[in-house]
Amino acid sequence: MLVPLLTLVRTSLYDSDKSFGGAGWSLRHYVRFLGDGFYLSVLGQTLLYGLIVSVFCVVVGFPLGYSLARMSARGRRWRIPMVILPLTLSLVVNVFGWLIILGRGGLVNKFLLGLGLIDAPVQLLFSSFTVMLVMAQTFLPFMVLSIMSVVAQIDPALEQAAANLRAGRWTTLRRVVLPLAMPGILAGSTLVFILTVSAFITPRLIGGTRVQMLGSMIYEQTLVTLNWPFGGAMSLILLAIVFVFVAGVNRLSRTRFSETRS
């Protein structure tokens, strides 16, 4: 694990824009990235997408994970594979599936045309909303599974105790279930956030050139422009930010929710 990482660090410090045989060392690739409003805005956008997709996955994933955890073993038997199935597909296959559904002649457009809601096919692809939607769909299983495993550890008697102590469903959720499920929510969010900010296939294929995310930009720098030093610098900046984020979340779950772990 360490060797590729160290190579990356070394490459990112090359002085030239060439990937090989350059001479001299400098931080100019880092300076270039951090000094340029365009790159910074892409970074900001990437992180923002990461947050939005995480939040979306929590909102959709919590009810799913919760109900799965509270379900009988029989009910779970065929529902769990349904949650896991998307993970067994290659990401590329998944994305191509979406391309077919959302394309100009795709399922959604045909349906809307058929209903007479629209007169001409709508551009569904190449928007940031669609990119986030597809990423959320792709990464949702991680959220569902991590919330489910934590909720399964919560004694159902606690919810009954809350109800007995005059807490309505909403109060029980807010004051008992959510605090106790928080480690799972945070773990799931961390996973989804990391997967989102480092994604490059989905933004490129669904978002095209209109949606810029750091992952696809790094991909271009390394494979199209062949500017490895700059790509490496971008990767390391992203890595550092993700690292700080994960450490922050870890700290939060350790200090604030440590009591729920025993």
Binding site: L158, Q160, A161, A162, N164, R166, A167, R175, L180, E259
Partner: protein
């Protein structure tokens, strides 16, 4: 008697084709502690959970202080429950656990604090309000659960086998504490247990349940001394059963013929079986003496099978009246007995119960 605080009428619960509770009716007046007693699967916990609102009855009606709560959600019922597992909120401190229900009842913050302190004092955990539940011992957790349930001043306190997770000595102590506490607060209480001793010690009235049905309802003494069915006699305390046939009626006594030519007199019960019918005699081991009969006692010859020394008493198995009888002896006589020895048993007719059936 004033109107009952808790009233269950013809309560019934089916799980699929299984009938968990069958036509159960109990009225509990203010301040009474009623104990649902029975083996596991007898429907006692199902009944408690129907009162709490966690299980919806198939049929019947539950009222608390006259209000029909049968179809209300748990949080709209005036009950406070102590769970078998205590179900303390692990992420909240002891004080926050006790305060939980008060917050939901919208009690003002200042009153909440005093009430929490009162409760902590009451269960003698004054200094531990800031601890988390997992930092407490089992007995302390149990007290927190009780304080939390009582803090909201429920009309009915529900206890679901609250002592089953404690060791034997602690169980006896907590039992006495609970008795003192509930007596002081005059809280109407429904208590579920499978431990007959617990029921005898705590309850004002015991409801013995078996297979979803009520076998007998009555004060502990009556349940113990005058069991109405073989199940009740067997489930509470130890009991000998002697199959017999009703032979004649002599004044206020009934004479029955048992095995080995033994004739036993029994005090006539209210519903005495007819002459010639088969009956089952029930006698507690402590009501049979070896030798030394009183003038009115039944005298039954027998032969000693085994002698078991238990410290404060001895258990002697005697073959007599066509049955294998257990005799509990508190004197020193037992130590002299040898298996095979011929003895004469003395049984007070007032202590012989005639149960229907063979």
């Amino acid at each position: 008697m004033s109107a009952s605080v808790l009233s269950m009428q013809s309560l019934r619960k089916e799980f699929g084709r299984m009938v968990a509770v069958d036509d159960l009716s109990i009225d509990v007046p203010k301040g009474e502690l009623v104990c649902l007693l029975g083996p596991s699967g007898c429907g006692k916990t199902t009944t408690l959970r129907m009162v709490a609102g966690f299980i919806e009855p198939t049929a019947g009606e539950i009222r608390i202080q006259g209000r029909d709560i049968t179809r209300l959600p748990p949080y709209k019922r005036d009950t406070g429950m102590v769970f078998q597992s205590y179900a303390l909120f692990p992420h909240l401190t002891v004080a926050e656990n006790i305060e939980f229900g008060l917050k939901n009842l919208k009690v003002p913050a200042a009153d909440r604090k005093t009430r929490v302190q009162e409760m902590l004092q009451m269960v003698e955990l004054g200094a531990l309000g800031g601890r988390l539940p997992r930092q407490l011992s089992g007995g302390q957790q149990q007290r927190v659960a009780l304080a939390r349930a009582l803090a909201i001043r429920p009309a009915v306190l529900l206890l679901d086998e609250p002592f089953s997770n404690l060791d034997a000595q602690l169980r006896v102590r907590m039992r006495e504490e609970l008795r003192g506490l509930i007596g002081k607060l005059d809280t109407t209480t429904l208590f579920v247990t499978h431990d007959q001793e617990e029921a005898l010690v705590l309850a004002d009235r015991i409801v013995v349940m078996n297979q979803g049905r009520v076998e007998q309802v009555g004060p502990p003494r009556e349940i113990y001394d005058r069991p109405k069915t073989r199940f009740v006699a067997q489930f509470i305390g130890l009991c000998n059963f002697i199959p017999a046939t009703v032979a004649e009626s002599a004044g206020d006594a009934l004479v029955l013929e048992a095995g080995q030519g033994a004739r036993l007199r029994a005090a006539r019960a209210a519903s005495a079986p007819a002459i010639g019918t088969k009956a089952m005699l029930a006698v507690r081991p402590e009501n049979i003496r070896i030798g030394n009969p009183g003038p009115n006692d039944n005298r039954v010859p027998g032969r000693v099978r085994t002698v078991t020394y238990l410290g404060k008493a001895s258990h002697i198995r005697v073959e007599a009246a066509g049955a294998d009888l257990l005799v509990e002896d508190h004197g020193m006589r037992a130590s002299a007995l040898q298996p095979g020895a011929a003895v004469e048993l003395a049984i007070d007719p007032a202590r012989v119960l005639v149960l229907p059936g063979a």
